[in-house]
Amino acid sequence: SEKALIFEFSKPGRVAYSLPDCDVPEVDVEAVFPSKYLRQAPAELPEVSELDLMRHYTELSKRNHGIDSGFYPLGSCTMKYNPKINEDVARCPGFAKIHPYQSEDTIQGALQVLYDLQTELAEITGMDAISLQPAAGAQGEWTSLMMIRAYHESRGEKRTKVIIPDTAHGTNPASATVAGLDTVTISSDENGNVNLDELREAVGPDTAALMLTNPSTLGLFEENILEIADIVHQAGGLLYYDGANTNAILGIARPGDMGFDVVHLNLHKTFTGPHGGGGPGSGPIGCKKELIPFMPRPHVVKVGDTYRLDDDRPESIGRVKAFYGNFGINLRAFVYIRSNGPEGLLRVSQEAVLNANYMMRKLAPYYDLPYGRICKHEFVLSGRRQKKLGVRTLDIAKRLLDFGYHPPTIYFPLIVEECMMIEPTETESKETLDQFIDVMIRIAQEIEENPAVVQEAPHHTVITRLDEVAAARKPILRYKSDKVQQKRGEVYEVSTA
């Protein structure tokens, strides 16, 4: 069914706000601003009552699937349960209603949160220092690369190449480009590990860094990590850890111990951000001591019993994000870490990995499994067998919607044909996994017996497949009142069954 836009039931004179009357003597705005600065016509924002507003957004929410609505095995995104206590803490006025420019003595509680989180993330990653400034993983990547550049430059070296495996997230090469570096792509071997020969050939005096996701986006731990670290370091390069998949290794292995020099984390993934429909996230970075001088400033430090913002860091690459990063998300992540402790975090990774291996082996008879090794917290399947029957992975994804599931990540990593990347996470019960497995098996059977039901899916969602080509060819990117059919007064027979 269609849902009216907020503009379509707007009506002049309705309000959903409430401001106190102006209690100061009034001046004429035209006496303050030259009229050329004043807009002539008001912005056509909605005019609705508070009930209209709440009904509108309540109905929109019902047209959206979140983790609390059902299983969400979107690989690489770690769609785990978002604890409610995190939300409660983040809404305390003492955390929500504070300004970054308040004097340090008036935000000691907030600075302690940041300091303690820095300390605990350093321990978790095996790094010497952490900066919480980057707003998201991609900004963490860019920040790290800028630090790596600054590090090499401080040593008088001109290193411009970043080596990136073909399994990497697309943000890795994009970040390198934005950081003014060139990228070299290397392939993966038949076990999903980095092709060592290619790596040896790629490194040289121009190598700035190798960017590696470990476990990789194939869900596989890089078995030659120590050898890789040696190769890169011996060539004078640095090793960069993309932390998107940290949920597999908490308390089990630390990037710092694997030889990585710089890391970023995605707090909205591993540490229950939450995801917010696509953000805000938080992408802290960590590094070994040689790189500390180049970290973003300011940095939260503790002097005696007092927490301070240290801005006196002459070699710093500077500020990468206004103020001190996404405090609200960092706070939630910190509550999560404190709620789990060392034993809890270890169990998180153990159970995430056990869940993934269980599902992988259960599904292997029905879908091609490109890599037969133990997986970590996620795994990839290929829909190439189904493709031969005329059903694409996209169709399988759409069919899953009919059963109340968010589908896996599809068509990524690019090196796996008709890829499905499945990450169950540790917060899902065995019953949920078993039900999802049953549905995947049922869909595999449907593809053999009645492929049309899959090809034409979804059947039970509020709308069916959308015409994305039309959307891109003739973009309609905003509401315009003159283009719109009159929605008012229309009556729909709704279907909520």
């Binding site: 706000y17 209690d23 303050v32 008036t106 997230h169 994009a174 402790g341």
Partner: protein, 344 residues
């Protein structure tokens, strides 16, 4: 300690291990070289129970001076504005905050439509033709900019929360439509011709273009864009004007009263919206310490960025400041000036 976020029971574990033909979950980590296996337990504090979490974080929150309890004149990029009560009720719907990027539009129409509406409202406010679905914040939007209008949406429904997460907007004229960074939502139809919304103009995104991408930004600030949408909807056509008008009124009142004080000088004779610069008789930090004792959070020390403006304070007066609070500020400034002039 029992873990309420971990549903795996001992029985589940046994069944799953048995199916996998192993006896210990440890076997699933045999691919990790022994030398890099972490020994022992992480050296972080033990888990806190939920009541302990509440206690600990209430204690830390209580150490921060917050804008509910103080008269508030600090801005300089992050602002203390009225947030309609509806905003938090909407963004607390878990269908919104526990979802991720709307890759599957059929089950993400709520988010997509809300962002489409956000884009429309940003276009209305900026007079531009096309807006994206949000950026990290105003400065990030600026760093990504070309020919266009960029800015921060934090004044609409987003708490200050130490400066982040915020929400930036990015809007351009139609001819730059295909150069805009970040995600964009477009309108289209489904197989039955019903209106729906999708992420569109995706070709430039990193997971396809990789090193050829013009931006590395992957996530956006969807939940904050939603908060801003709700706030812009709540304020609406009238409320946005009234709020802006009140900012001007309150700022003019504060400015005119401070201009008359001995020892203070309103520095620049230019039209101002809700911020103005005042030269103060002593250091800005000393002034602010004095104001804090009067339950006032004072202005921003411009000397931090512009050495030539040492001793200059940027005061911000929004609709959230009452006349009584402005008068309290003026009185505080007056008293401190008198104190400065007294022989010790």
């Amino acid at each position: 300690m029992k873990y309420r976020y971990l549903p795996m029971t001992a029985e589940d574990r046994t069944e799953m291990l048995s199916f996998l033909g192993i006896t210990d979950v440890e076997d699933l980590f045999s691919d990790i070289p022994k030398q890099v296996r972490f020994k022992g337990m992480l050296n972080i504090p033990d888990a806190l129970s939920e009541p302990e979490v509440v206690k600990h974080f209430s204690h830390l929150a209580g150490k921060n001076v917050n804008s509910s309890e103080y008269a508030y004149f600090l801005g300089a990029g992050i602002y203390n504005h009225y947030i309609p009560s509806t905003v938090n009720h909407v963004i607390s719907r878990s269908e919104f905050y526990t979802a991720y990027t709307p890759y599957q539009p059929e089950i993400s129409q709520g988010e997509l439509q809300a962002i489409f509406e956000f884009q429309t409202m940003i276009c209305e406010l900026t007079g531009m033709d096309v807006a994206n679905s949000s950026m990290y914040d105003g400065p990030t939007a600026l760093a990504e900019a070309a020919n266009l209008a960029v800015g921060g949406a934090q004044p609409f429904g987003i708490p200050m929360q130490l400066g982040g997460p915020s929400c930036g907007f990015f809007a351009v004229k139609e001819k730059f439509m295909r150069k805009i960074p970040g995600r964009i939502v477009g309108q289209t139809v489904d197989h039955h011709g019903r209106r729906g919304f999708v992420l569109t103009l995706q070709a430039r995104e990193q997971h396809i273009r990789r090193e050829k991408a013009t931006s590395n930004i992957c996530s956006n600030q969807a939940l904050n864009a939603l908060a801003a949408s709700v706030a812009m909807t709540a304020l609406g056509k009238q409320g946005v004007q009234e709020m802006a008008w009140q900012n001007v009124q309150k700022t003019q009142y504060a400015k005119s009263r401070i201009a008359r004080l001995d020892g203070y000088k309103v520095t620049f004779d230019v039209p101002v919206f809700n911020e103005f610069v005042v030269q103060v008789p002593t250091s800005v930090s000393e002034m602010n310490r004095g104001l804090l004792k009067r339950k006032i959070v004072g202005g921003y020390d411009l000397g931090r960025n512009y050495p030539e403006l040492a001793g200059h304070m940027l005061l911000t007066v929004t609709e959230a400041c009452t006349k009584e609070e402005i008068d309290l500020l003026v009185k505080g400034l007056e008293e401190m000036e008198s104190a400065c002039n007294q022989p010790i």
